[in-house]
């Protein structure tokens, strides 16, 4: 089995003056991911190592780290695929470090919350006590579906050169999410969001580097979202939310097929 050196960023702001890199030698097993290697280090070599992880299958976005010079999900990348005998692991750039590989993602969530990432509608009563369903065509869904795959791992902000130079820049994650909700036909909050976005740190601060798209582990294209958002801010029509009058019809059983059995489970 091949041995690999892991150069891991170590820093405890409560004790250490400066961060440093510590090396650990690991014998690879077939299909071993970066996360599994880190878990191995924590369990067998150095229990003081701190990192964040949860689902281990690229869904939760907790284990985003700066691996061999690129923001990646530790659980989503196998050590062998890096094709390197030395693997460097550091916390995501552009965030303060809480400890070792754990970044403080507060700014990510603050920016995300700032753009109101939820459906805004005038008919609050219908939202809270729905009388039917809101209709959306597949074409309308295609307008934003890829942006809703964002898992909020923070890799895009870590890769963004504009966030590095302007921490107040809303960043690709929040901007793409703003577009995701503006493009949603059920939403009527475009004007509210555009008011929030139309500042010196909004979409017009973007440098078009495209590093966010390159870094996204879920193949979302936040750079495209930012460009769509700009386009909408100039040419977007005033939205009328769909289905203000819920369009769902009462269910009419089809006589061709037998009726389904009564539900007994509570």
């Amino acid at each position: 089995m091949k041995a690999v050196i892991f150069r891991v960023f170590r820093f405890d702001p409560t004790k250490d003056e400066k961060p440093c890199f510590k090396e650990y030698e690991i014998t690879l097993t077939k299909g071993m991911t970066i996360l599994e290697a880190l878990i191995y280090i924590k369990e067998k070599i150095d229990p003081t190592l701190s990192f964040r992880a949860s689902c281990r299958m690229g869904v939760c976005g907790s284990c985003a780290m700066y691996i061999n010079g690129k923001p990646r999900l530790a659980c989503y990348n196998q050590v062998e695929d890096l094709k390197s005998s030395v693997v460097s692991v550091a916390p995501l750039p552009n965030y303060p470090v809480i400890r070792d590989l754990v970044p403080d993602l507060g700014s990510l969530f603050q920016k995300h919350t700032h753009i109101k990432p939820y459906i805004i509608r005038p008919d609050r009563e219908e939202m809270e006590n729905p009388t039917g369903q809101f209709v959306m065509t597949p074409h309308q869904l295609d307008e934003f579906i890829q942006f809703s795959y964002c898992i909020k791992c923070g890799a895009c902000l870590a890769a963004c050169p504009t966030v590095a130079s302007d921490p107040a820049f809303l960043g690709p994650q929040a901007l793409a999410q703003a577009y995701r909700y503006i493009a949603d036909v059920r939403d009527a909050g475009a004007e509210i969001r555009i008011k929030i976005l139309d500042t010196a740190h909004g979409p017009f601060r973007c440098h078009f580097a495209g590093a966010c798209t390159d870094a996204c582990p879920k193949a979302v294209d936040p750079a495209l979202g930012v460009q769509y958002l700009k386009k909408h801010m100039f040419f977007g029509r005033k939205q009328k939310p769909s289905g203000v009058k819920p369009l769902a019809k009462e269910h009419v059983p089809n006589k061709k097929y037998p009726a389904p059995p009564e539900r007994t489970a509570k």
Partner: protein, 122 residues
């Protein structure tokens, strides 16, 4: 005016610069350019040529557009760089105002020079 409107003007100014600067460069260096094509013209930088050009209304319009677009595009870009460089929000606001004031003064000065050139020689 919101940020998006300033940004749109910034982009329009860039397009204007491409056109007017190209015309300006061609006129200033047309002797060289036409020389490549085998055509000989009088020196465009000579006093008589400069004076004759400055009397043309078309040339004055081109220089006016170049001055307006170049100054706005450059100063908006400078403001963007400074806003990213200086993190303090109060200082960022002050930068916007300082750049705007500098822009107005420089524009007024540019217009005086432009008008002076247009009316030069009576």
């Amino acid at each position: 005016m919101k940020e998006r409107h300033w940004w749109l003007l910034f982009i329009i100014a860039a397009a204007c610069i491409i056109v007017t600067l190209a015309i300006h460069m061609f006129l200033m260096h047309m002797g060289t350019v036409l020389g490549w094509l085998g055509i000989t013209v009088s020196d465009p930088l000579a006093w008589e040529s400069t004076l004759a050009r400055s009397k043309q209304i078309g040339m004055a319009i081109i220089l006016f557009v170049l001055l307006t677009a170049g100054l706005f595009h450059g100063l908006y870009g400078l403001r963007g760089i400074l806003i990213e460089w200086i993190k303090n929000p109060v200082a960022q606001k002050a930068i916007t105002w300082l750049v705007a004031i500098f822009g107005v003064v420089a524009y007024a000065w540019g217009l005086v020079v432009l008008f002076g050139v247009y009316t030069m020689g009576g």
